[in-house]
Each structure stands twice: as structure tokens, then as C-alpha cells.
């Protein structure tokens, strides 16, 4: 019997990857290709959806070749993607009407401010689980409709399709199937989080014709069959990248959480079968839905600046030459020397949501060395995690017992130990670092019976490392209160103009 595999496409912010996994959930082959980042104006970030589609073709061929397998050995394909990035294209020609507007793009700033005072804006969080913010897809669709001549009429005539990246790729892979999954749809501001269907009031509020919207499907279940690239292979799962990481970390039980530590960090907590309305500034979102079953929800806390603070320390201050050297520098001292850095570079996200906040370094004395600053940089990631976890515990009523971690910063031992210390729970790292693509593969394999059930997936998860809390409660309390006082200093730095 020839060995069979599951393939994941991970369409990320900087690159597109195609990864082949085997039955034991091990990475068998990988191919990757970076795409261009377009910055036409300050605050604008765009991707060329056509370029990305070509990269899917190329990486697919490269991955199959490197794995030495043929298409009949591929049991299923799973897709995971950068969330909220918005593509509009012509149903007849398949050409995008403009470059894709990326999740980091803030061009809809003033549009969102205007919409916030429009009647009906107060209904958005209750229906969609999200605050009205530039971060999500709906304002971007509206912006394109407003700024592309003739587009609204074409959209109303049913000629224009909207999709996030998975929708765009599935449409191309299947020769015209227009579908999305619940996790991606839950990031548009247009979906009712309970009924999992497009909410007519929300589409009307944003002025988005319903004709443009894809059909919403469960994340785990056959969405269609490829007629291109992977001819004959079922597309059996689609998930947003952070939800895929939660799935790949096998956080299937309420109370299980993962945090992905990269440029920014994303903490998701499985909250079970009903959405939790956050009163502490977290997002309520769909974690996944297995075909024919009720959806599983999650709370999400995003931290804007974590790895990027290390990059700032390296590139702007020049105190280190590579990111990992920050640990070496931090270990030249035994504590932070009373110094705290709050990286509110462009405001603070969860749980504060203070866009006017600006970063501070407090506690400077002549005693402080670059080693103390390095510690303060790493500790900032630890304390920001603590703030999000506190908010999650308060909102969900579930007390976090273990934090599963992944991402580039998990190679930093001092940081991982500090996270365990300040959360007072074990921090564990899985054997497969590629949790995003693994999650998409797991979901797809589960959908076609390549793996029998969630329990089987859980058995594939193995602990590669673990950090146990080792900080006295009194020190933890004292340090946390110092951090919170430092955070308070970020709020009132910028003075309201004309006041």
C-alpha cells in the first residue's frame, strides 16, 4: 500500500507555503515563496492576489516534487490564510479589480470613524463579536466600492465577488466555487456570530451588496474538489491562520489556549459551544466548526508589539545584531533593575484599546545597563500576555491551566520561563513548530477520515519543551503592579490637541 499524505497551503502575510504532512503529523516536505508587499501610500499595504495564486501553483508543484509523491497519494488539502485581507474580483474574467487590501492597512481610518457615529453602529459588537475597527474586512470592501468607478453597479449586478484569501484560492482551485469558512467569515464584521450567516442589517450598515458575499461553510468538511493544481483532491478544510494554530495545538476543550509569539502575538482561548461577549476588550470569534456539528467559539487577544519590540531594540537602538542575542544580553543581569518598557508604539490593543497611548521607558537610573533594558524588552511580552490572560479568565470564567506556545519567540528560553513565571501556569512548546499549517492539515485529514477523530489528533501532539513557574507570589505581585503603573503612564502622554 502506498503511503498517503495531507497537504496544507498556508497563505501568510509575507509568503505562501505548501506543506506535506504524513499520518503521524510530521512535516514531510515544504515549499515556500515570498510575495511582494506594496506600500503605495503611508498606512496602505497591498498584495497582488494574482501573484499569490501563481505562488500556490509553484509551491504546490515544488512540494509534491520534493516529497516525491503523486496526486493520488494526497488524501486531502487544507487551506489556512492571513485573515481579514480583502480581495474583490470579476466573476466572469477572474481578474481582481484592485490589489488585495491587507489586514495591516489603515486606509479605512476615517471611514471607520464616520461609520462609528452612524445609526446602527452600536449593534455591531453584539452581532459580530467584534468592535468596529479598520482591522476587519467590511470597511475595506466599502472603501473599494466607494473608490473604484462603476464598481458598486457591477457588484449589485452580481458581477463582483468578495473573498478573503482562502475564498480567492478555493475559487481558483475549483474553477469557480465561491465559499468561505466560518472562522474567516467571523472576521468580516458581516456575520452573525450565533447563526453563522451573513447578517442583512450589517451588510446594509456597511453598504455592501449581499450578491458579493461567498457562501459560509463549516471549517472542517469537504468544500469542493480541485480542478486545478491538485486535480481531483478534495479541499477538506479552511481556517484563518490563528484559528488553524489553535487547531494544530489541539486546543479542543474549553479552557485550552495557545499563544503564537511572532512580530505581534495572538492568544486564543477555546470557550466552547457559545460565544462569550467580552467586557474586557477581547474579540469573540469562531474557533472552528466540524461539518454537521455546532461551532466552537474562542476569545482572542492580540498584542500588537512583541517580537517587533525586539526588532526595534536591534534595528533602532542597535544594541544587538540578531534577535536571539537579546537573551544573551538579558542574561548579563539578574533582574530588570527597576526598569519597564511599555511598547505602546501606536496605541495599546487588548485589553486596553487605547489608540492615543504612546510607549514609555520608566524607572531609569544611572544603574541601568543595556542588559536591564534587554530584560525589560522581553518582560514586556510576558506582562502583555498576563494582561490578556487576566482579561480572558475574567470574561470566560475559565482559569487558564496551561499555555501552549508557538512562533519565532519561543526559541527564547528566558522569555518562555518569564511567561510561565508571570502567568503562574506551565508553558509548553509542541514538537511541530508549524502549528498553523499543521492545523489546516489536521482539519482536512479529519474531514476525509484520514484521521478518525479529535482524540487521534490529540495523540499526535507531543511536548517538545516545558517551562514551569518558578517565581515567588510576592515578587510576581510586586512586579505586576509596577508594570501596571508603567502602563498607566502611556495613557496620558499625548495631550488632546486644541484643548
Amino acid at each position: 500500500m502506498t503511503e498517503r499524505y495531507v497537504i496544507a497551503i498556508d497563505q501568510g502575510t509575507t509568503s505562501t507555503r505548501c506543506i506535506v504532512f504524513d499520518r503521524r503529523g510530521r512535516l514531510h516536505a515544504v515549499a515556500q515563496q515570498e510575495h511582494h508587499q506594496h506600500y503605495p501610500r503611508p498606512g496602505w499595504v497591498e498584495h497582488d492576489a494574482m501573484e499569490i495564486w501563481h505562488h500556490v501553483r509553484k509551491t504546490a508543484a515544488a512540494a509534491l516534487q520534493s516529497a516525491g509523491i503523486t496526486l493520488d497519494q494526497v488524501a486531502a488539502l487544507g487551506i489556512t490564510n492571513q485573515r481579514e485581507t480583502t480581495v474583490l474580483w470579476d466573476r466572469h474574467t477572474g481578474r481582481p479589480v484592485a490589489r488585495a487590501i491587507v489586514w495591516q492597512d489603515t486606509r479605512t481610518d476615517s471611514l471607520v470613524t464616520a461609520l462609528a457615529s452612524a445609526p446602527g453602529a452600536d449593534r455591531i459588537p453584539g452581532r459580530s463579536g467584534l468592535p468596529l475597527a479598520t482591522y476587519f474586512s467590511a470597511p475595506r470592501i466599502r472603501w473599494l466600492l466607494d473608490h473604484t468607478p462603476g464598481l458598486r453597479a457591477r457588484a449589485l449586478a452580481g458581477d463582483i465577488l468578495f473573498g478573503t484569501m482562502e475564498t480567492w484560492l478555493i475559487w481558483n482551485l475549483t474553477g469557480g466555487l465561491h465559499v468561505t469558512d466560518v472562522t474567516n467569515a467571523s472576521r468580516t464584521l458581516l456575520m452573525d456570530l450565533r447563526s453563522l450567516s451573513w447578517d442583512p442589517d450589517l451588510s446594509a450598515f456597511f453598504g455592501i451588496p449581499a450578491e458579493m458575499l461567498p457562501e459560509i461553510r463549516p471549517s472542517v468538511g469537504v468544500l469542493g474538489t480541485c480542478t486545478e493544481v491538485f486535480e481531483g483532491v478534495p479541499i477538506a478544510a479552511a481556517l484563518g491562520d490563528q484559528q488553524a494554530a489553535l487547531f494544530g495545538q489541539t486546543c479542543f476543550t474549553p479552557g485550552e489556549a495557545k499563544c503564537t509569539y511572532g512580530t505581534g502575538s495572538f492568544l486564543l482561548l477555546n470557550t466552547g459551544l457559545s460565544p462569550v461577549a467580552s467586557t474586557h476588550g477581547l474579540l469573540s470569534t469562531v474557533a472552528y466548526q466540524l461539518s454537521g456539528q455546532a461551532p466552537v467559539y474562542a476569545l482572542e487577544g492580540s498584542i500588537a508589539i512583541t517580537g517587533s519590540l525586539v526588532q526595534w531594540f536591534r534595528d533602532q537602538l542597535g544594541l544587538i545584531t540578531t534577535a536571539p542575542e537579546i537573551e544573551t544580553l538579558a542574561r548579563t543581569v539578574t533582574d530588570n533593575g527597576g526598569c519597564y518598557i511599555v511598547p505602546a508604539f501606536s496605541g495599546l490593543y487588548a485589553p486596553h484599546w487605547r489608540s492615543e497611548a504612546r510607549g514609555v521607558i520608566v524607572g531609569l537610573t544611572s544603574y541601568i545597563t543595556k542588559g536591564h533594558l534587554a530584560r525589560a524588552v522581553l518582560e514586556a511580552t510576558g506582562w502583555q500576555t498576563r494582561e490578556v490572560v487576566d482579561a480572558m479568565n475574567a470574561d470566560s470564567g475559565l482559569a487558564l491551566r496551561t499555555l501552549k506556545v508557538d512562533g519565532g519567540m519561543t526559541s527564547d528560553n528566558l522569555l518562555m520561563q518569564f511567561v510561565a513565571d508571570v502567568l503562574d501556569v506551565p508553558v509548553v512548546r509542541p514538537m511541530v513548530a508549524e502549528t498553523v499549517s499543521l492545523g489546516a492539515a489536521y482539519a482536512a485529514g479529519l474531514a476525509v477520515g484520514y484521521w478518525p477523530d479529535l482524540a487521534a489528533l490529540r495523540e499526535l501532539w507531543h511536548r517538545a519543551g516545558q517551562w514551569l513557574p518558578d517565581m515567588s507570589p510576592s515578587l510576581r505581585t510586586a512586579e505586576y503592579s509596577n508594570w501596571q503603573r508603567a502602563v498607566a503612564h502611556t495613557f496620558d502622554w499625548i495631550q488632546p490637541s486644541g484643548g
Partner: protein, 258 residues
């Protein structure tokens, strides 16, 4: 070294590289563009560029935001260990995990520190049994496979070894025996240790090489003798292959020969 090539006279590109470093060190402002460097040394721009790129690769020169060259950090810290241990972990982590997954054993990466093996990275044996992360721990050089690899390629570490402690009946305690076994390690390109640190435990390791072949660390697996070795106490060739493949992959990433 097994290989030697007959070299008539000095190597021109090395002389040129040395001249370039001198030029950078003495120029006012300590930074120069490629055109100035080529002109000063009367070289074609392409030739100068090729040498500068190589010097940049090994960290002896760096480029500023305007593309001008200056002396690199690696040159300023020639005396100290040139690859940061945390950097090494970061570069190795994506190969250490698959090694643990394939071999089913715990993986460690080590470098020499104060006459011992400093554990830079540790991946648990993938069986979810309780294990403690021992990153930062110090192990004896002469009684571990990691240590033997490091000693085999670091003559000063070998020269500064003191009395060899016996941990088990199998520990190598004679310097002469150790020297002989290190020769075998160099010939084979990997090392093993069988019950020499802890009775019933064995380990297998291979070198991690940076550019030019410099050994900057060792990576290996360790576990119960009956899982790592055959009945005749020979390391399982399959495991040896996994360890060497993974170490070679890291070496390739670092720009070293594998």
C-alpha cells in the same frame, strides 16, 4: 586534517581581503563605498565586490544604510566565541524538533563553556512522559557524545582538560585512550558514548559547522542503551544517520560545509 593541497605561494584573494580590512580600519570615518575600495587597490569593481561580499558573509565587514562598508562585529570580537549560543539555538530549533520526532529520543545541542558542555537546547523525548528542560546545564566533555564531538574539533579544549572523572565503569579516564577515540570521531564524523556517564544510557552526536568548516556546536540524541544500540553495543546506524543528517542540515543553513 586528512586532506592537504599543495599551494604554490600566497593566495591572492586572501591578501586582497587583508588589504581591504586594513583600508577600512584606517579610512577616515571608517567606512568606504565599493568604488573607493576598488580604486584604492586598483581592482575591478566586480572583483572587489566579490571579496567584500565574502567578508560580509563571515561577519568581518558590514554595510550601513547607504551601502558603504565598515568593519563588522565579528572582527571586533574575534577573541570571543563568534556564534552566540542563543543564536545557535534559534538557528537549530527547526532541525532539532524533527530529529526528536524521527528518532523518538531526546535531543540536545551543546557548545564548550569552561571546560564542559553547555546544553544550549533540549528537546524532550516525544513520549509525553515527565521530563525537565535542562537547557543551561553543564555536562562533562569526556563522558558524553556531545563532548567528544566538541573535543575532537577543539584542540585547546582538549589541552585544557583536567583529571577525567569516572562516572561509571565504562567512562574513559585515560587521556591517551580519549585521544585515540577522538581520532576515530574525526575519521567517522560522529561520536557515541555508551553507558559512560549514566549506566544504561547512551548518546550519539555529530558536529554543527559554521562557514569555513568551523565547528560551533554539537547535536545529538540520548536515551536508553537498548533503544540506541544493537545487542553487540553498536550505535544503531539508522539513528546515526538521522543525527548526522540533522547536524548537516543546520551546518548548511549556517553556511558551513556538511
Amino acid at each position: 586534517m586528512g586532506k592537504s593541497v599543495c599551494m604554490p605561494g600566497p593566495v591572492q584573494s586572501i591578501e586582497r581581503a587583508a588589504a581591504m580590512l586594513r583600508l577600512l580600519a584606517t579610512s577616515p570615518g571608517r567606512r568606504l563605498g565599493i568604488v573607493e575600495i576598488a580604486r584604492s587597490l586598483d581592482l575591478a569593481k566586480g572583483t572587489a565586490h566579490g571579496i567584500m561580499r565574502t567578508l560580509q558573509r563571515v561577519g568581518f565587514v558590514a554595510q550601513d544604510a547607504d551601502g558603504k562598508y565598515l568593519l563588522g562585529d565579528a572582527l571586533l570580537h574575534l577573541g570571543t566565541s563568534h556564534l552566540d549560543v542563543n543564536e545557535l539555538r534559534s538557528r537549530a530549533i527547526n532541525w532539532a524538533d524533527p530529529l526528536a520526532a524521527r528518532s523518538g529520543e531526546a535531543v540536545r545541542i551543546g557548545t564548550v563553556a569552561d571546560g564542559r558542555v553547555l546544553v544550549v537546547h533540549h528537546v524532550f523525548r516525544p513520549d509525553d512522559t515527565p521530563q525537565r528542560l535542562d537547557t543551561g546545564a553543564l555536562l562533562p566533555l569526556h563522558a558524553t557524545a556531545l563532548g567528544k564531538v566538541l573535543l575532537a574539533y577543539d584542540s585547546s579544549a582538549f589541552a585544557s582538560l583536567r583529571a577525567l572523572d569516572a562516572f561509571t565503569r565504562r567512562t574513559v579516564v585515560s587521556t591517551r585512550d580519549l585521544a585515540l577515540s577522538l581520532r576515530a570521531v574525526r575519521a567517522a564524523g560522529w561520536a557515541s558514548e555508551i553507558g559512560e556517564l549514566t549506566p544504561g544510557e547512551a548518546s550519539i552526536a555529530a558536529p554543527i559547522r559554521d562557514y569555513g568548516g568551523l565547528v560551533v556546536g554539537a547535536m545529538g540524541v540520548s536515551g536508553a542503551i537498548e533503544r540506541l544500540c544493537s545487542a553487540s553495543l553498536r550505535p544503531d546506524p539508522r539513528l546515526v544517520g538521522y543525527v548526522r543528517d540533522a547536524a548537516n542540515a543546520i551546518s548548511r543553513d549556517l553556511g558551513g560545509r556538511s
